[in-house]
Amino acid sequence: MSGQKDQAAGTADNDGPASEFLTFVLGDEHYAIDIMAVKEIRGYESVTKIAKAPPYIKGVINLRGDIVPIVDLRIKFDVGEATYNEFTIVIVLQINERMVGIVVDSVSDVIALTASQRRPPPEFGVAFDSRFLMGLAKLQNHMVILVNIEALVSSSELGLVDAALKKMES
């Protein structure tokens, strides 16, 4: 990674392959996640509540026969307002063999970023813990925060995975 960066500093024009990111909006901040983790994007539909789950776990839905949990990142990171209407979007992620849906305010774009376009993540000022950040990128008129969605989803922070199971998988 660092090697790639050094190279990028030398030759700004040709700095290795670009990776694609899906950008979305939480409150008034723009975020992006690796597109390879995204399985599909769908509208928010009613969920089945899970008792005794933290408030940001909205419940589970039936995704073609799989029971998939839905997490509202707006509640978890206290950004924006958790409203649900016909424009509310669920991004279904597939990480390792597990699926999870995350609720966001809207999905904006798919962007390609090369290593040189990425900046190191800020230490503060974002809702996400810096453990889950991969960096920053500047688009035309705003900053996009790159989220390490795999680390976030499998972290104990979200509590989506049984602790014992997680140990087994890792």
């Binding site: 009613s46 008792a51 799989d66």
Partner: protein, 600 residues
């Protein structure tokens, strides 16, 4: 060679397993005084087949044992050695060793060579006792010829490799062994002789019949079952849509009804692929009973009933340990010693009956003995010793239930058979994990009956749909006693929670909305519906808003993408595509701690 043969390994393991099982079964059923020569031949052939094939694959440990075993069996077969109970026991021991070695090869573990050597020595000692030097000499020649010939046959003729051992049999015969008198005529045509030797085996297995089978990877079957589960869900969604559109009178309604019927039939036949007869478990018990009875110097007859009852493969595998434990218990604690039985006016030989039968959507397995029955006094004393809260007024069923407590054993002597108290609670937990229940009935001096009730399959559960607010939950039907809307006068308040009085019994009422964080329409038991639930541990009433109806639901895992949810055994997809939680009535009561105080 071995690389090319790898693909045959799994077939070898399965066939050898069958041969070992055949030998064991025949040995078990053999009459010591008047052994059936045909049985002896079959046992010999089984040992021989294993020996031949293991030579091809280089499984030396198997070859070594079966080689000597074969010599011994040959003597027996020719009447040079009498069959005795001791000899049968020795052979059974050898078979255990074979089984172990086979498992080691199968799992690619290290072979327990000391055990193999021990068994070999034991057999050699037996053989030496007969001391027929001629047999030993011929022996060597046989061992020498055996493998090369078999391998050659395989390469040349492209037979399934299992025919080879049979194919080489004529060879030693010509050397004056005089084996296989019936096959003598075919000695010159190995192919034919092989076929006839092979045909003998199925004929010896009455259970397997003539049905032709194919071996299919269980994963393929499971994925098929999953897909059909999806199909059933889609079909019921379609039905809901169809009802909304035109009702059941329209042409669409007719077609949808047809689709429903076909889907159900497909589901049934697909589920039946996974079904296996319980004889797969039962067949091991003659051996268990025999060994244990001899060890404990008791006389026990074993009766098996309903071996053809079919159960899901997954269930069958998980039944082995609990059932073995229960059978051993029956022999150890239940059946009395012959002298005691005579004094009590019972036949000296005790009887244990293991039966299986299908009752609606469940399977019942009973282990019934005519032994001493459970000793109420001793259980009560032990319970007090363990600090359990018991009273003399408890009815028998509740007392018998005590033996399922962890660490509960009333055995006076701790033997290697039982008495360590790790048993019954584990048995019950295992059965519960399969969605089943264990009940005990017992009468002093008459014997006891342990009944295990299991669902037919693991993938589908018969459930009752209930509503709380706008959420639907499924309660497994096996644990529901009845549902009712109670009269206000039958409800009493105790320490902030309700007790329902039904027919002389008090049932603590657990409001489902409290446990499941739902918003109910009714908070008072007399306005909603109370579902009376009985698990093996406790009884309670579950307060819900209304009943939706009984239905079969496909169990979906919550853990696949999420994690275990307290109080839920899983989830299912309803006809409208929404998700409903299947309640785990046992852990549901754990979630609500108030209940424990009231029941205890």
């Amino acid at each position: 060679m071995s690389v090319e043969l790898n693909q045959f390994h799994s077939v070898f393991f399965e066939e050898s397993q069958e041969h070992i099982d055949t030998m064991e079964r025949l040995l078990m059923s053999m009459s010591v005084n008047n052994p059936d020569p045909e049985d002896l031949n079959s046992i010999f052939r089984a040992a021989h087949s294993i020996k031949g094939a293991s030579g091809i694959f280089g499984f030396d440990a198997l070859g070594q044992i079966t080689h000597i075993m074969e010599n011994l069996l040959d003597q027996v077969r020719k009447g040079q050695r009498a069959v005795s109970n001791d000899l049968v026991d020795q052979f059974l021991g050898v078979i255990d060793c074979l089984r172990q070695v086979l498992d080691s090869y199968r799992n690619q573990q290290d072979i327990d060579w000391p055990a193999v050597e021990r068994t070999t020595k034991l057999l050699e000692a037996l053989l030496g006792a007969a001391a027929e030097s001629a047999a030993v000499e011929e022996d060597d020649g046989f061992g020498f010829f055996d493998e090369p010939v078999a391998v050659q046959a395989e390469e040349d003729d492209g037979f399934g490799f299992f025919e080879e051992p049979a194919a080489i049999q004529p060879q030693p015969e010509e050397q004056g062994w005089g084996l296989f008198e019936t096959n003598q005529a075919e000695a010159g045509t190995p192919g034919k002789s092989a076929t006839s030797a092979k045909d003998d085996n199925p004929a010896k297995k009455p259970a397997s019949g003539e049905s032709s089978t194919i071996r299919v990877d269980i994963e393929k079957v499971d994925s098929l079952i999953n897909l059909v589960g999806e199909l059933v869900i889609t079909q019921s969604m379609l039905k809901v849509l169809g009802d909304d559109l035109g009702g059941s009178n329209s042409r669409m309604g007719t077609v949808l009804a047809e689709l429903e019927r076909h889907t159900r039939e497909i589901q049934q036949s697909v589920m039946s692929i996974r079904m296996m007869p319980v004889s797969f478990v039962f067949n091991r018990f003659p051996r268990v009973v025999r060994d244990l009875a001899r060890k404990l110097e008791k006389e026990v007859d074993l009766v098996l009933e309903g071996e053809h009852t079919e159960l899901d493969k997954g269930l069958i595998e998980k039944l082995v340990d609990p059932l073995t434990h229960l059978v051993r218990n029956s022999i150890d604690h239940g059946i009395e010693r012959p002298d005691v039985r005579r004094d009590r006016g019972k036949p000296e030989k005790g009887t244990i009956t293991i039966s299986a039968a299908q009752r609606g959507g469940t399977i019942q397995i009973c282990i019934d003995d005519d032994g001493a029955g459970l000793n109420r006094e001793r259980i009560m004393n032990k319970a007090r010793e363990n600090g359990l809260n018991v009273s003399d007024e408890m009815n028998d069923a509740d007392v018998w239930d005590l033996i399922f407590q962890p660490g509960f054993s009333t055995a006076e002597v701790v033997t290697d058979v039982s008495g360590r108290g790790v048993g019954m609670d584990v048995v019950r937990r295992n059965i519960q994990q399969l969605g089943g229940r264990v009940n005990i009935a017992s009468r002093a001096l008459r014997g006891s009956t342990i009944t295990i009730t299991l669902p037919l399959t693991l993938a589908i559960v018969d459930g009752m749909g209930v509503m709380v607010g706008d959420q639907t939950f499924i309660i497994p039907l096996v644990s529901i006693i009845e549902s009712m809307r109670p009269y206000p006068e039958n409800i009493e308040q105790l320490a902030g929670s309700a007790l329902l009085h039904v027919r002389d019994q008090f049932w603590p009422v657990l409001p489902l909305y409290q446990v499941m964080d739902a918003e109910p329409r009714h908070t008072s038991p007399s306005e909603g519906i109370v579902v009376l639930i009985e698990t093996s541990k406790r009884r309670y009433g579950l307060l819900v808003d209304e009943l939706v109806g009984q239905q079969q639901v496909v169990i979906k895992s919550l853990e696949q993408h999420y994690k275990r949810v307290p109080g839920a055994a899983g989830a299912t997809i309803m006809g409208d595509g929404s998700v409903a939680l299947i309640l785990d009535v046992e852990s549901l009561a754990d979630v609500a701690p108030i209940l424990d105080e009231e029941i205890a």
